[in-house]
Symmetry: C3
Subunit: 438 residues, 3 copies
């Protein structure tokens, strides 16, 4: 028996306040490792049954090594007279990620080698990291830096880089089959609302929703520090990767840009599914070919793995002016954009879950719909229930055990839900049976 | 030895007056079954050696059952004072197909539930059927219906629906090989000239012509009641369907619209052949992807059969205003349009018949044309017989046993007949041999 | 270890004066056979270690026969008063190729049947041959012919057609593998600078250059009389043709037209390689589909051989007004155009030679570039050596043993040399190993 759809696409609403969750997470200082990541996952875990994994510093992961844990308590640049010009407490972007501790008086000339600004966006603070650089640095607005003309400044970074662990979150929701959908986001950016928190919030709401549902497929939600998190997870899960039939990396889902979907390296059903949902979503969108830059799709699509994983975003990293600056803030991310993104991805997951293959039980030819009440008896007038008569004809024509519902919907060029409704009618009329998934 | 083409494409003329045959058939009342179908096939059988098949009502056919036979002698709506307002004798569209008998006085309000009109085309009578509806009805112009303001009317339908048989016609012309071309039309519409009779007339002329020719392929012409006729024929011929290599459903061939060809479900050589002939025909045309609505191609292309069958038409059902109305009449169908359609399909059949594969007998490389008289000896001047020198070079280059003449003509982008002429030259020069068809 | 590229594309210069070689070869009378061909090959052999092959007249070659050898010492048309109007010594185009000897007085009317002119280009002498025609003839400007109004003329052609041999040149430069690149041009045209000599000159310089290099592939340079030369070579080399992995016919490389590349019959890597080099060359170009007319690619691509051979040219035979006329002279061919053609083809050969497949030695996933010095440690700033960081990421992502460097360069849409540079970095970092070629 087929599930009835819970809601129409327009009725798909997250069960939590997405912008509220982004707001709650915003002030926390995150990096590849450290207390901020744990605090972030702790807040997420109030909504979903998240498994928190700690991987010790120095653990090998494929070609990589889990880094030292970085924590920071405070940082500032002050005048020698004690006036604080730059303070980590005001904005955690002020410190280069993974800065080693430093304390003392430094000439402006020496400080300049540790200061990062955006001359073309002089009022914004850039976001920079130096993960494996054995360095320290400050990020500040170019406007401020230009007013700093003293000969010397007092700098302090109260941080430590020490053996500890890297933290990531995982939620696996088993399905009726062994097939899995991988959904991931990154959790390693400090106060950046779109490039980080939008993905965390939308994914949390999706996980809550999938947890409540009967699931044909399993769903694995990964909250990962970028790159090393994905690599570590891949290393630890190598034997089960053949279960991953579809995957999607979520990022930058809160800004008002059109949707962008970056296709998987190998070309896969996930690409066709996302394109189909976008096409019928009413939203503007663009499909982009795979390239080996971007988010963790580049890890999932790396040689030897080559998983069917794409990346969904609204604004594309590196192309909007707020990217990796203090302007990627709570105003840049809009509640209605987060909600649209949620609804769209819910549709994608439902499509994947319901995308099955059917075959006719009554043998060859077109069945007689009239005697089953599936066809208005007066020919020449068309009318139908959930699915149109044409949808049902498409379904029955392609229910040959070789076409999935997605294949049918793409060929008929109608929303997936209408082929799904046609399938329901045909199953109820005992005209078709589902083929076991393989 | 290759046949010489009988005629150029522009010289392809039907051996009967197509519009005359349409005119002769027009007044007959046809439906899925009954005397009108038999009369129609009887007229066709004066031209071709048609086998008339009767299939008893109640015979199972795949998922369907052959219906009761319907016959009608007369029908009318009259005022209580005896004035006949609607009379089946005037136009057989006036009665809903498969109406059960009725007689008596009925209120206008009750009659309204049995009356079909076209408010947007108020001067036209619609064509409607209620094959499996246990209903009765009248079709009339909206203009007339609006003048009918009496409280009661006298209605009479002198019809009967009783166990009898369904009738269809078949002509099989065997060829030198087991491969067959299926050509079909529907014969179940009453006085509709384009959507029915144009196909019957053109197909009759094509059958006459193929009967006179040496045929490499077999040709099977089916005159079928729509849907149930095709389903019944499929049911009765399941063991020979693998012989059907090409198929084409003919309909709406008499109106002045550009040609439309609806491709087969699976994509097949017939689609490429028709597209090729249309491309070089000088006529406007459009190729349309398969969909599971339309004419009997939807039966031939249904799951379990999935035959290589497309549908050729000029105007597309449901898109021209005369469709399924009394305006689809003898004026709508034009003699020159019928003749063009005939000539085009004759070209298609000739292409299919002559579409063979050749391989070089003289081994590898380009043969020396000069010493065989196939190349003007003075290089730099080009001139040739039926085929151009370039056609001959294309033929010899692709005569590798893997390319059919159609493949060659499409790659060279020249009319099929020119590659055929080149093949003739090469066969005469003993440069190539035909590959046995498989 | 990978070779460093000797030069950038812009630094690719022939080591001889190409236009000088064309000028040196221009006055020689060439035909399919004879002293002029030997003299031409003799001049080429001063630069490269050319093997001169003589094939006796009458030798069978596939479907053909090596023709009689033709030599000519002089020819003229004079007035009866002894005034020379047309003299072979002035321009060897004046005599129809393979003219048999003739001497005597002939009426203008009879002479007209042996005279070839270009009424639409009245000041130009056409180029014509009558290889297998047992004929004689003169080619002259239409302007001159119109002034020749005497009743009779004295004609003399001092030629002989006798058993001898056909001459062609071959240079094979072995490589580290059995795979070969075939590069050919035709050598049978008399004083035509673009349609003949440009190819000979560019190919000579390419052969000189390849002879000096370490070669992964073998290179086979063929200087052939058109058609019969190619056919004879194919006949004599049938057992080694599977070594020919790439082939390119060179012609018309000295005029200022955009480049034109005619693709191989079967579609092959050579086509993708040339298209890629052209796309990134900065030159205008057009790819043309295969057709069975043109130069010797039609022989190499004939049935039974179907080798991966295309044809590179600037102006396309038959489309520029100078084609096969006395205007295809030393002014029509420009030094800078010859040099551009040389540089382009050198790039193509280098691409073919360096087009290998790599696979990662370090297993799965994306390697850590930072600890190998391959990634600037401060994320967010991009900078790199020869290859960009993105090039290296593309290389590592596609180094799965299934993608050649050309595949990668096409997918990344960057010049091949950048992927090659990325490969060099990755090999030096021991991240990848080359897959043995197959």
């Amino acid at each position: 028996m087929l599930d009835r759809p819970e809601t129409s696409a327009s009725g798909r609403k997250p069960s939590i306040d997405l912008h509220g969750l982004v707001t709650e997470l915003f002030p926390i200082n995150r990096s590849l490792t450290g207390a901020g990541v744990r605090e972030t996952l702790g807040l997420v875990a109030r909504h979903i049954d998240l498994e928190i994994n700690e991987v010790a510093s120095g653990t090998p992961a494929l070609d990589w090594t889990v880094p030292m844990e970085w924590n920071i308590r405070g940082a500032s640049i002050s005048t020698l007279s004690g006036h604080r010009l730059v303070d980590f407490a005001d904005n955690n972007l002020h410190v280069l990620g993974y800065s080693k501790p430093v304390q003392g008086i430094i000439s402006r000339a020496d400080l300049a080698r540790h200061v990062h600004t955006l001359p073309d966006q002089p009022d914004l603070i850039p976001y920079r990291t130096g993960y494996f650089a054995d360095d320290w640095g400050f990020c500040l607005s170019h406007e401020l830096w230009q007013t700093m003309t003293d000969e010397n400044y007092r700098v302090e970074i109260d941080s430590d880089l020490s053996s500890g662990s890297m933290t990531y979150g995982e939620l696996f929701l088993p399905g009726q089959t062994d097939q899995e959908v991988l959904v991931t986001c990154h959790i390693c950016h400090p106060s950046l609302a779109n490039d980080n928190l939008s993905g965390i919030a939308v994914m949390t709401a999706l996980a809550m929703r999938q947890a409540r549902r009967t699931r044909r497929l399993g769903y694995r939600f990964l909250f990962l520090p970028a790159t090393i998190g994905a690599i570590t997870w891949l290393d630890r899960n190598q034997t089960m990767l053949d279960r991953v039939r579809y995957g999607i990396v979520l990022t930058c889902l809160g800004d008002p840009s059109p949707f962008h979907y970056k296709e998987s390296r190998r070309g896969a059903t996930i690409d066709r599914a996302v394109a189909h949902v976008l096409r019928h979503s009413g939203h503007q969108y663009e499909a982009m070919p795979f390239n080996p830059y971007g988010y963790d799709e580049r890890q999932f699509c790396s040689p030897g793995f080559d998983l069917p994983v794409g990346c969904l975003m609204r604004g594309v990293h590196g192309t909007f002016p707020e990217y990796h600056t203090s302007a990627d803030n709570l105003e840049f991310v809009r509640p209605e954009c987060l909600d649209q993104s949620y609804a769209l991805i819910e549709s994608i997951l439902d499509l994947l879950d319901q995308n099955r293959t059917f075959e006719r039980v009554d043998g060859r030819g077109e069945p007689q719909l009239g005697r089953r009440g599936l066809y208005r008896a007066i020919a020449g007038q068309r009318e139908a229930g959930g699915a149109t008569q044409m949808d049902l004809l498409w379904f029955l024509n392609l229910a040959d055990g070789k076409h999935s519902l997605l294949d049918m919907a793409i060929r008929a060029d109608v929303p997936f839900a209408r082929l799904e409704a046609a399938a329901r009618l045909a199953v109820e009329a005992a005209l078709v049976r589902e083929r076991p998934s393989s």
